[in-house]
Amino acid sequence: MITFEDVVKVYPGGSTAVDHLSLELPTGKTTVLVGPSGCGKTTSLRMINRMVRPTSGRVLIDGRDVAEQDEALLRRGIGYVIQHAGLFPHRTVLDNVATVPMLLGCTRKQARTDALGLLERVGLSAEFAKRYPAQLSGGQQQRVGVARALAADPPIMVMDEPFSAVDPVVREGLHREFLRLQKDLGKTIAMVTHDIDEAIKLGDVVAIFRQGGRLAQVGTPREVLANPADDFVAEFVGRDRGLRSLSFESAADLPVRPLSEVGDLALDDAGRPVGYGSFTRADSLRLVTDLAIISPAGIAVRVDAEGVADGVVRHHDLVDHLAARRREQP
């Protein structure tokens, strides 16, 4: 667990970057610090590995004040990923990944063998190992950055806008990969982003900062979307937060109608819908809503694990379901 205890950062010249921050980042979870630029989120993040020193207050990792620990040793135990990856241009991809294990005294051979495994883990084939960072795309560099941060298997990861510098399609892929990795690894992650959608998608906990370095609200993404603490948070999470909060609602108990109710549903020989988007029980209500809205017939088709259509939802069923749910949990 990472704990901020009444932390203040005032820069020479008097501007306050962080204003009395108290926050706990739970072990094994991803906590996303999010807010507009100049809100102190990056400054706060960089206090965890002592890249920034608080003016007052303490930052603790599992109860130990980071200020009392050796800087370099502390940092070797915290994985660090930044925007544009910050890879070492003079080292191959493999040696970039091997950096921290080598600092920790691992032999070059062992560090390289481990690094190769890590590359695979972040979705890069062995052919990338011998390349230099300049020979990679932005997305590939970012993967190497993540592999390098994971190399010494640190319990904590600090990520500063790790996915901001890549295009939306690549970012989407990196998000999926991140969630998959984090599911396996269960690191304690502190991440900064200015993108509330990213925060909601990746965070177990979202900490929203406002200008002047003050914490506006902390909560799960669902809580923050459903009950913004004030106008600033409501504004920041966006006007379509109602729609977005449906991302957290499962489609599992949504009532479906038999296929026979829809006359001209196009199915292939195996019974899979043709020309329609479809959802499964594991998807969210947001997807179902989206499908029902874009479908000319106003229906969303549900499929089973094999992709075979087993029912349809009409938009008004969806509206009724949401209304019923609201009555149940006011």
């Binding site: 890249m51 070797r76 230099y132």
Partner: protein, 211 residues
């Protein structure tokens, strides 16, 4: 020219050998001295501009003046090769201290920052990350300094120690073109070979800068 060469092989070779030592020893000394000075210009940003100015002034001192005044300051004999070595070392430091500083300053802030965040301590970060990344800039300065030194050594002939430059003075005194030509050609060839050698070393040790 061939006749001249075959009749004076010993003189020419001795001149060439002296030229190489007088030109390259200062490159080595200057490089070693310039590294910490250049680093100071980066470590303490307020030092950078004074450093650049001092280097500029030093480099603008005419070489002949330096050759003549150094014996007064150092207490060496006027004909001592040491004067040439010290003078050229000063020029090399003036050129390379700035280059080292500029090279280190050219290292992307993100790279040094991520090195720090990985857990590098200051000195190891300098040796393992900053200097290697600054190498292309530093080696470009080293090439300039080496070629400049090779041409400057000849001026030393005017005070009696000048490697291949001695062939020039001899040619002028005897109204004899051959040694002058040999001196010029060997001097240019030496500069070209030294430059090429540095380029080859650079290719070898910074393969990443060509991708």
């Amino acid at each position: 020219m061939i006749t001249y060469l075959s009749n004076n092989t010993d003189v020419v070779l001795a001149a060439l050998r002296q030229h190489i030592v007088l030109a390259l020893l200062p490159v080595l000394i200057g490089f070693v001295v310039a590294l910490p000075i250049g680093y100071l210009g980066v470590r303490f940003p307020r030092v950078y501009h004074p450093l650049v100015n001092i280097c500029g002034v030093l480099y603008s001192i005419p070489s002949l003046a330096l050759f003549v005044f150094l014996p007064v300051i150092l207490g060496t004999k006027i004909l001592s090769p040491l004067n040439i070595v010290v003078a050229l070392s000063i020029y090399t430091v003036a050129l390379l201290a700035r280059t080292v500083a500029d090279g280190l300053r050219s290292v992307d802030e993100l790279v040094t920052q991520s090195a720090t965040a990985m857990g590098y301590r200051r000195f190891r970060r300098l040796v393992d990350v900053e200097l290697p990344v600054a190498l292309p800039v530093i080696l470009a300065g080293l090439r300039a300094a080496t070629v400049a030194n090779i041409s400057l050594v000849s001026v030393g002939a005017l005070i009696g120690v000048g490697g291949l430059g001695q062939l020039f003075t001899r040619g002028f005194q005897l109204f004899y073109l051959e040694p002058i030509l040999v001196g010029i050609i060997l001097s240019i060839a030496l500069a070209a070979v030294a430059d090429l050698a540095i380029v080859l070393v650079q290719r070898l040790i910074t393969p990443w800068s060509r991708v």
